[in-house]
């Protein structure tokens, strides 16, 4: 979980850099070129397969672990007071993960599937024909409920990261009194800033559209 989790965390950064180009005031040119680059460059393509695999391992592993953990306590307690000894997020990574998974499926259907196999209109930059993913995104972000769903999912990501970020280091054995505060601070900042930035994009685009 830790290794795949950390890889997915690094993916979030790359993804965010791409998304931020949605805000460039160029009618989507840089974003579309970026999208094309991401879907055609052989290095990126190879990496993307690794990414798919990581997602799948992270999810399947989580399901297996949850099953093992349920089996480890078949008779439940009548009363539990988990809030007094652990954080809510740490106890609910499965629920948070499921929310993210639902989002992921819809998100992939809307953009990733469309980009790869859907009939997206094309635009021409400097004589090169490029799929106009920007417009697809722009249209999607004019619907308030879609934006709301997106933001809600990002809140889920944030909570998932609150625990997941530092937990990954603990699992890998990286627990050191000198560096723990650094890991925790970076983890918390990352968990707020990255999903926050993701969420800000559809909000800004929605506001622009109305």
């Amino acid at each position: 979980m830790a290794l795949t989790g950390l890889f997915l965390i690094s993916f979030l950064v790359v993804h965010l850099i791409g998304n931020l180009q949605l805000l460039a005031n160029d009618g989507g040119e840089s974003f579309n070129l970026y999208a094309k680059f991401m879907t055609t460059n052989p290095v990126i393509k190879t990496t993307s397969y690794l990414l798919y695999a990581t997602f799948i391992i992270h999810i399947v592993w989580a399901i297996l672990l949850s099953a093992q953990n349920r089996k480890a306590r078949t008779v439940r307690y009548a009363v539990t007071a988990g809030s007094t000894n652990s954080s809510w997020t740490s106890r609910n990574m499965g629920i948070l993960g499921t929310i993210i998974l639902v989002f992921l499926i819809i998100h992939l259907k809307n953009f990733w599937y469309e980009m790869h196999w859907g009939g997206i209109a094309k635009v021409v930059y400097d004589g090169v024909e490029v799929k106009d993913l920007y417009t697809v995104v722009e249209v999607a972000y004019t619907q308030w409920w879609y934006v709301a769903f997106y933001v809600a999912a990002m809140v889920g990501v944030m909570f998932h990261l609150f625990h997941g970020f530092k937990s990954a280091f603990q699992t890998l054995g990286l627990n050191h009194p000198k560096y723990n505060p650094v890991i925790n601070t970076i983890g918390t900042l990352f968990s707020i800033i990255v999903p926050g930035a993701f969420a800000a994009i559809p909000i800004i685009m929605y506001v622009k559209s109305v």
């Binding site: 672990l65 093992q68 953990n69 089996k71 480890a72 306590r73 078949t74 008779v75 439940r76 307690y77 009548a78 009363v79 539990t80 007071a81 988990g82 007094t84 000894n85 652990s86 954080s87 740490s90 106890r91 990574m93 625990h163 530092k166 937990s167 603990q170 699992t171 890998l172 054995g173 990286l174 627990n175 050191h176 009194p177």
Partner: protein
């Protein structure tokens, strides 16, 4: 004080079990929680009923035998053993729910008594340094940095009560196992078998049916001896290096 107790009663491992409610008046706040149970049991015996069975022995917080899950927490509201919990930690009129440790690896034997021999088997798998009696070097032959000795002592303070397993939402035994692995990996005497020890103990832990660690930290927060999570991280390191570096196939 007046107390209402909701206590788990179960005749034996096969029995399904259920909660029973008992009312106690005249409870002194100076009583320990187990003494309150003594009072209940004396009352039950006088009425000809089977007393509530629970594990306990030293009643001074060190043997690790007592094991009650009180109001949703192992050993109750304070970070101590049940025998060191006193009734002054509760209020007059409280209802207190008492359950046994719940884990597949700790089957209930009767009422609140559970079988923790899985812990013994984990230790038997490698929680020792393989030396025989006699023929050892002088105690001062190998100096050990005080810091390492202290850290080893902090890990060795584990009393094996199983509160970590009881508290963990996954019923994981990582804190218990890591405490023993840490103690030995920090000491020069433990180096010889360092890799095989980690591999064997963890394999045994897994085969006992404990859950996996998701780093909630509940174990350490509830541990009466405040065993730290750093031990789990250390065990993870030991495990990775053992898996990569040992020639056990």
């Amino acid at each position: 004080m007046r107390i209402t107790l909701k206590v788990w009663r179960q005749k034996n491992t096969q029995d399904k079990g259920n909660f029973k409610t008992y009312k106690l008046d005249n409870i002194s706040p100076d009583m320990s929680f187990l003494e309150m149970f003594d009072v209940l049991n004396e009352q039950l015996v006088r009425q000809g009923e089977d007393p509530v069975h629970f594990d306990h022995d030293c009643r001074e917080g060190i043997c690790g035998m007592c094991s009650l899950y009180i109001n949703g927490k192992p050993h109750g509201p304070k970070q101590t053993t049940t025998c060191q919990l006193h009734m002054r930690s509760f209020n007059d009129g409280d209802t207190i729910t008492v359950e046994p440790w719940r884990a597949t690896a700790f089957p209930v034997l009767k009422d609140l008594v559970v079988d923790r021999t899985s812990f013994d088997r984990v230790i038997q798998a490698g929680g020792y340094i393989s030396i025989n009696t006699g023929g050892v070097p002088d105690a001062n032959e190998i100096p050990i940095p005080k810091k390492d000795a202290d850290k080893a002592m902090d890990a060795a303070a584990c009393i094996g009560c199983g509160a970590c397993v009881a508290a963990c939402k996954n019923a994981s035994a990582m804190l218990f196992v890591s405490a023993k692995i840490s103690q030995f990996s920090l000491l020069p005497q433990g180096q010889t078998e360092r890799k095989t020890r980690a591999e064997k103990m963890i394999a045994q832990m897994d085969s006992e049916g404990f859950g996996a660690c998701t780093n909630t930290g509940a174990c350490s927060a509830e541990c009466p001896k405040e065993i730290s999570l750093t031990n789990i991280a250390r065990m993870n390191r030991e495990y990775f290096t053992a898996k990569v570096g040992s020639d056990n196939v």
